[in-house]
């Protein structure tokens, strides 16, 4: 594969902090709250203001426009004015000549608070009526009358923890002043248009004065969807007040402390089976820990509900979700966007039901997988389901029956080492659940030397969207991809973009680029017709063909002729995903263009003496449609899986009184190279997807949820050592939790 950005390996790839610094640039330090809830009584900045190198210190008072960064619900101040709601909330900002001077001055700021009672537990918040928005409920069938007909009913609580993104590049922005109050922002964001919009509100100017440019991100995973805005707005304020360039790049501890993470959830579930193991009923109440402001909590909550039944058909469902306001940093988007939290619960309920009914978990899962035409609780019927197929194929590929047999033998033979297995099917809906966001624009420019520049609304953050788009363009224009350069994502080139999120980057923007390229092709072939005459004209590998015969007309000549004939070689295009709609009142509709399916088998070995674990193998059969790029899709599957496994095992947000203790890589442990298991991936064959560009399927988020299998493999192994103790459904299973389960009375 030659088109995978070579500059990465040579260190030439430029991230925000690598952009050459303008000569008179100011550095920034953010003063944050250190209590979880309280009124601000007095802010003392005298010493800080007098500190060497300080040019300006701003507080909420110095915001010319709105002191507001909430996109969906306007409930989040950029700089806390009278009251702080979480530890890490920005209060004041120092702009100084050097980073050290900014930090030194920041540390001279002191503050007095009147502390207020703080709430950290979502259930407690719900009890007190502290909700971000009204609760939502999805239902299907008649749940109330069905419980009597169930042979087995299980009820319980399932909890999943939050997760810090640890994108390797921390959040940051470089802001450059322009003429007439214009500001150019190099922002590390997945969401350039929202940065543009929020910054214009904060500054109090029109959007057309703010330009946001994004070359690439050093990872994002959802963390830079809505939370890159703050740093851009702070830098823009610095420019507004000083008319000098301003940079802020958070250091790792700041980033972990101040920015949002995956939402922790606590959920009550109830599930009923008939004698054969068919699920008759499922109900759940999800308590989402939203943190101190809405951020993206409400759509994330929606997706939790949409995925509450995962890849299963359940005829009677009622699932309710509460977004609970607590005094923690506002939680935000993270790969899967609430979907993993939903799927985790149904898998817990099934595991529980398996224990109680005596029906093996794999049988229970298999019997309830989605069939063509089955209805989801949100009213949509599943089309082209690959649930059963991927499930069957992965069992076959992993020789699951053999594995189970060997496991039994192994576990009998070894007292202190046990093996465990799990199967994790997934079904993930593709589209922004806010229907209006499913639109994209593109700008394709062909220079008269035949080279091509492409701008799209998609942000490259490692997921390979630029490579995919480039290959879509190359295929559509029938030219060598080396002729094509992907431009930075810029609000001046493609406007009103949706964030690059929801796995939709290539689907939406790729399609817009395809449309733009087709338009150019059409114009070029008209020029060819002028030169070669009527007939069946086509471009193939940079040559014009007439009636399937090669001509002498090359791409370069054709382009030059078009230019000389005064033909437009620039094409703007737009795409809106058709066929999707949702009625929020009725909670019914077709929110997704299609679903992604797949199944993973996970094998773990636990050391029962020490409570440690090693994941040996994960077998995956994944539905990538007709993959746009095998290597990229494989990378998304492997990377998503390992990140999901991290969420279920090592990655733990530990708080004391609202203060995050795990605020560095020394204490917040993400998977390392030894943690990653052997991964055996197979793509489903003959799985063309009619609903997306070039029959492909979105890839970014779905594989994350294979990682949930890690939890259930660990449970399987732990229970091979010890059965007499009740299993508590609480993720992550750290080595501590495992050892305590294995050995504590």
């Amino acid at each position: 594969m030659t088109d995978l950005i070579p500059p990465h390996t040579t260190g030439e790839s430029v991230f925000v902090d690598d952009i050459p610094e303008p000569k008179d640039m100011l550095h920034t330090a953010v003063f944050i709250s250190n209590i979880p809830h309280g009124k601000i009584i007095k802010l003392n900045m005298q010493k800080a203001k007098a500190s060497e190198g300080v040019v300006k210190i701003i507080t909420a008072e110095d915001i010319p426009g709105e002191n507001e960064v909430g996109r969906i619900i306007q409930d989040e101040e950029l700089l806390a004015k009278d009251k702080v709601d979480f530890i890490g909330q920005p209060i004041a900002v120092v702009f100084a000549e050097t980073k050290n001077q900014a930090n030194t001055a920041r540390d001279l700021i002191t503050i007095e608070y009147e502390p207020l009672p703080a709430v950290f537990d979502p259930r407690e918040a719900a009890k007190k009526g502290m909700l971000i928005a009204p609760s939502r409920t999805l239902s299907l069938g008649d749940i109330d009358s069905i419980w009597d007909k169930c042979e087995t009913i299980v009820e319980g609580v399932a909890e999943s923890g939050g997760q810090e993104h640890i994108y390797m590049e921390t959040q940051g922005c470089l802001a450059i002043p322009g003429e007439e109050g214009r500001i150019l922002l190099y922002s590390s964001t997945q969401n350039p248009s929202t940065v543009q919009n929020i910054v214009s509100n904060v500054i109090g100017c029109d959007m057309n004065k703010i330009e946001v440019d994004v070359k690439r991100l050093g990872g994002a995973f959802g963390g830079k969807e809505d939370q890159a805005t703050h740093w851009a707005a702070i830098c823009a304020l610095g420019v507004y007040h000083t008319r000098r360039p301003v940079k802020l790049v958070l250091d790792r501890r700041e980033d972990i402390t101040i920015t949002g993470k995956r939402h922790p959830y606590s959920t009550d579930y109830k599930l009923g089976l008939n004698k054969e193991g068919k699920i008759l009923a499922f109900s759940a109440k999800f308590y989402q820990n939203a943190g101190a402001a809405a951020d993206l909590s409400t759509p994330i909550l929606g997706r939790t509900l949409f995925h509450a039944t995962n890849a299963y058909y359940i005829p009677n469902v009622r699932v309710t979700a509460y977004s609970c306001k607590t005094n923690l940093v506002p939680f935000t988007a993270f790969r899967g966007f609430g979907g993993p939290q939903g799927m985790f619960v149904i898998e817990c309920a099934l595991a529980h039901a398996s224990e109680k009914s005596g029906i093996s978990i794999e049988k229970l899962q298999e019997r309830n997988l989605l069939d063509e035409g089955d209805q989801f609780p949100y009213g949509m019927k599943v089309e082209k389901t690959q649930a059963k197929r991927s499930f069957a194929e992965v069992l076959q590929d992993s020789k699951f029956d053999d594995l189970k047999e060997k496991q039994e033998e192994f576990n009998k033979k070894n007292k202190l080492v046990k093996k465990g297995f799990s199967i994790m099917p997934i079904c993930f809906g593709i589209s922004f659940t806010a229907t209006f966001m499913n639109q994209a624009g593109a700008l394709v420019n062909v220079y008269y030397d035949g080279s091509v520049n492409i701008s799209s609304g998609a942000v490259e953050m490692g997921q390979g969207v630029n490579t995919k788009i480039k290959s879509i363009a190359a295929r559509t224009l029938s030219i060598n991809p080396d002729r094509i350069r992907m431009e930075s994502t810029n609000t001046g080139k493609v406007i009103n973009t949706s964030p690059t999120a929801a796995s939709s980057g290539a689907d939406l923007n790729g399609k817009a680029v395809e449309i733009a390229c087709k338009a150019i092709n059409e114009r070029l072939l008209n020029v060819a017709k002028e030169k070669l005459g009527e007939g069946n004209l086509a471009l193939k590998d940079e040559i014009v063909y007439l009636n399937d015969e090669k001509t002498n007309l090359t791409w370069e000549e054709l382009v030059m002729s078009a230019y000389l004939s005064r033909v437009n070689l620039s094409s703007q295009a737009y795409f809106a995903m058709p066929g999707i709609h949702y009625d929020a009142e009725k909670e019914k509709g077709k929110p997704f263009a299609y679903h992604v399916f797949g199944t993973a088998v996970t094998e773990v070995t636990i050391d029962c003496l020490r409570g440690t674990y090693t994941f040996d193998n994960v077998y995956i059969v994944h539905d990538a449609g007709k993959s746009l790029n095998y290597l990229i899709d494989l990378g998304q599957i492997e990377g998503g899986l390992v990140q999901g496994m991290g969420w279920m095992t090592l990655e733990e947000l530990q708080y004391v009184d609202g203060k995050l203790l795990t605020d560095a890589l020394a204490t917040y442990k993400v998977p390392d190279i030894y943690f990653a298991p052997k991964i055996h991936t197979k793509f489903l064959e003959d799985a063309d997807n009619p609903y997306a560009v070039l029959k492909s399927k979105a890839i970014g988020e779905p594989p994350f949820m294979y990682g949930i299998g890690a939890y259930f493999a660990l449970k399987d192994a732990a229970q091979a050592f010890r059965k007499d103790k009740e299993w508590v459904y609480s993720a992550p299973i750290t080595p501590e939790k495992l050892l305590l389960y294995l050995h504590e009375e």
Binding site: P6, T9, S13, D17, N100, E169, Y674
Partner: protein, 453 residues
């Protein structure tokens, strides 16, 4: 201060305690990335080449914890200094295998892998070790490992008879200026002297602190305190010996499985910087090397001017971060008896590699006529100091190894400790874990015990 940065000799008046990462980025070397500034991610990895017997030995080091003073007279290589006209085999393999997604960690991986290929001392090490100190959040590592293996296959076919650097240069995998480096380095060598100031060993804890400024730092590793040697009675380990050198030292591995025991201490780049003396003097209650040497009943040599005193390592710790150390006194060496003993080391952390232990423990003894003699048991993370479990040792003396004895030993150990709840685990977990690790020491020796415990 003079050193070679990539192709050129650099001279700077910056503070010797300035982090090399910050120096490099300030000077426009942007291929070196800041991911954590604490040695936990490897995005800032550089090569540091040191002149030894006319040859330059290169190691990958986290530049975020590397003070400029430690690169004086050395060759620092960043990704920019490795780049050729076309991609080298490591870079090409990463491209071919899709081993780079967002790209932020990639230069660090390339540098770490190049260190593996350039350093013949790593020839018997698995290539995964070379990148164990690098975190990637995108790929799940598999594509990187495939790339590493593929590059390894390609590079392994080279003819190394004239040395690795020369082979890599001949194959055009490494820029040719590397051949001139030994001569260039000779010109900028200065003989360091022990002088008054702040003594610094590896600095891997100290330089976690950002913007730390240290007056007159004296880097002990440059002053010959890093040797490991033995005589008939003792093995000596210089206080500034780095952990990797200790891990692979012949002296220790003749007697114990030290190479395997210490393989999950931090990461290779950190092990090459961190020292045993630093680990001990830092007085962390959880230092792996401290715990290891406590169970070997080590003595330490302390030097104040010309005066030397020798005390037991276990007597050094007086309280949380309080040591029996005079002002200006230098920890010179450790010594253990040069005799075969049974030694077990156990460490459990949240992540099995590159993590600080929740609890660690080491145990050594002699075993004659089914009886334990001279037992030494230590544990970390279970009290304010690295603990030598005196009472447990007393109990174990002269006992036969039975399930009851092991259980009783664990019970006594539990009465000696005072763990607290912290980010490494709850007190209740640490108590349980210490018990389990004590069991583990004995189960490894007497496997039948596993049925009894």
């Amino acid at each position: 201060m003079k050193f070679i940065l990539n192709r050129e000799i650099m001279e700077t008046n910056e503070s010797p305690s300035l982090h090399t990462l910050d120096f490099l980025r300030k000077n426009g070397i942007k291929g070196v990335k800041e991911g954590c500034h604490e040695g936990d991610c490897g995005a800032c990895m550089v090569l540091v080449g040191e002149l030894k017997d006319d040859k330059v030995i290169y190691k990958a080091i986290n530049s975020c914890m590397l003070p400029l003073g430690k690169i004086t007279g050395k060759h620092v290589v960043t990704i920019e200094g490795l780049n050729l006209e076309k991609l080298n085999p490591v870079q090409q393999a990463i491209v071919d295998e899709g081993g780079s997604q967002c790209g932020f960690c990639t230069p660090g991986f390339v540098v770490a892998l190049m260190a593996y290929f350039m350093n013949e001392n790593l020839i018997n090490t698995d290539i995964i070790t070379a990148i164990e100190g690098n975190i990637c959040r995108c790929t799940g590592y598999k594509s990187i490992l495939r790339a590493a293996d593929s590059a390894n296959r390609k590079i392994a076919t080279l003819d190394y008879s004239k040395g690795r650097i020369s082979a890599l240069v001949s194959a055009e995998y490494l820029p040719s200026y590397f051949l001139e480096i030994p001569e260039m380095l000779k010109k900028i060598q200065i003989q360091p002297k022990l002088k008054k100031g702040t003594y610094i060993a590896g600095g891997t804890d100290l330089f976690v602190h950002r913007n730390i400024v240290i007056q007159d730092p004296v880097f002990l590793s440059e002053l010959g305190f890093d040797k490991i040697w033995s005589d008939d009675n003792y093995i000596f380990v210089g206080a500034a010996a780095d952990i990797e050198s200790i891990r692979i030292s012949n002296e220790l591995n003749t007697l114990f499985d030290t190479a395997s025991h210490l393989s999950n201490v931090s990461s290779l780049p950190i092990r090459q910087q961190a020292t045993i003396g630093g680990n001990v003097v830092n007085a962390s209650p959880i230092g792996d090397l401290t715990i290891y040497f406590l169970a070997l009943d080590a003595d330490i040599g302390l030097l104040l001017g010309e005066e030397r005193r020798i005390i037991k390592l276990k007597d050094l710790f007086k309280g949380y971060k309080i040591l029996d150390l005079e002002d200006g006194e230098i920890l010179e060496w450790f010594r253990i008896k040069n005799e075969k003993r049974i030694l077990s080391f156990e460490k459990v952390a949240k992540r099995m590699h590159m993590d600080i232990a929740s609890v660690n423990s080491a145990f050594s003894m002699k075993y004659k006529d089914n009886k334990i003699t001279e037992p030494h048991l230590s544990g970390g993370g279970i009290g304010p100091i690295p603990m030598y479990l005196e009472k447990t040792c007393q109990y174990l003396e002269d006992k036969e190894i039975t399930a009851d004895v092991v259980k009783e030993a664990a019970r006594i150990a539990d009465s000696e400790i005072s763990p607290i709840d912290d980010v490494r685990g709850t007190a209740r977990y640490k108590r349980l874990l210490l018990r389990q690790l004590i069991y583990a020491h004995f189960v490894k020796l007497v496997p039948e015990l596993e049925d009894l415990l």
